[in-house]
Amino acid sequence: MIKEFIKGLWEKNPVFVLALGLCPTLAVTTSVQNAIGMGLSTIFVLTFSNIIISLIKGFIPAKIRIPCYITVIALLVTIVDLVLAAYFPDISKAIGLFIKLIVVNCIILGRAEAFASKNNVLRSTLDGLGMGIGFLLALIIIASCREVLGANKFFGYELIPGFRPVSIMVLPAGAFITMGVIMALFNMKKSKG
């Protein structure tokens, strides 16, 4: 049971092992603040999406499952978007565009198809939470590298006064490079164990 939760953190980390959700990963990891905001929102959407889909899995005919999943996910994302805009305007301003991208975040559709549609609600909840937290951790790791090296900042605060940062790290190329390097390290560690 605990295994359903843990697997999302390391063994089946959605970004570094399953290679899902790379689009928003690249876009959001320019600063740690944005990464955390996006990660938390995704945990919410992913967990509740898994719960809802697991609850209605008997009701959805297999042939139309994709549009059904997408409707559920889009509903949850729009709710997050509205709640953020109303009660957390600063966060909404920072990651508002990315929130809308969660709808097409492959992690959510992927887990709905691969897990929530075939498992009970409790397992699906744990799967959603684990994958979501694994995603958040991956985002924080990548964002830390990119913000520190690329903008000489962490969480918006300057690190080393006067240090000229490596600007490419905050551009898309830097995102790919960072992700590739960390993925390689991940796989190295995994194949040894």
Partner: protein
Amino acid sequence: MKEFIHYALVLMIIAGVAGVSLHGVNQLTKDKITQQEREKLLAGQNIAYPGAASFSAAKEFSVKGKPATYYEVLDAQNAVIGYELQYAVQGYQSQVTVLTGIEPGGTIKAIRVLGQAETPGLGAEVEAIPTSETLWQAIGGLFSKKKEVKTETPIPAFQAQFAGKKLDQLKVVKEKTTENIEAISGATITSDAVTRAVREPIEAFLALQKQQTQQ
């Protein structure tokens, strides 16, 4: 045939439930969202023209054929003491919306970038407030007993340049300057976009006023 009816029904029910839930959430949040937007605009308006008593409703005018908005800046006696021009320009990767407060002659009081989604660390630096502390000082500050009292809203360094400048000074240059506008290193396109979003509406507005007084 029966299958298709079943599929259509399922989809309709799911879409129906989604629609109703969304309507509910929308009703709960829409007033708060409108209020947030109003507060954000008012805060921006106060920054773009400090010392104003109130602002008129939004009025439309056209800048190079594109729609723009202006507000009259009013004093305590409701006399017009200046204007605020709101205009959006395409930046590097997003629309950059700027509110510019001007005196009747066209001299800029201050500007406020209302919206942008440029690259963090580069274009987004137009909204960066010069942090007075580094990370280490901030962490140290968590443990100290002193509490700093912040009185005013800090103005982003890039936007502070515009205060007091006239129309012909609004050129973007890459060196240090007080006469013109100094670009952000590595973000020339965004710096230029903000400057254009300030310059173009002022040109159009002054021309419009000249036309109206000549009639």
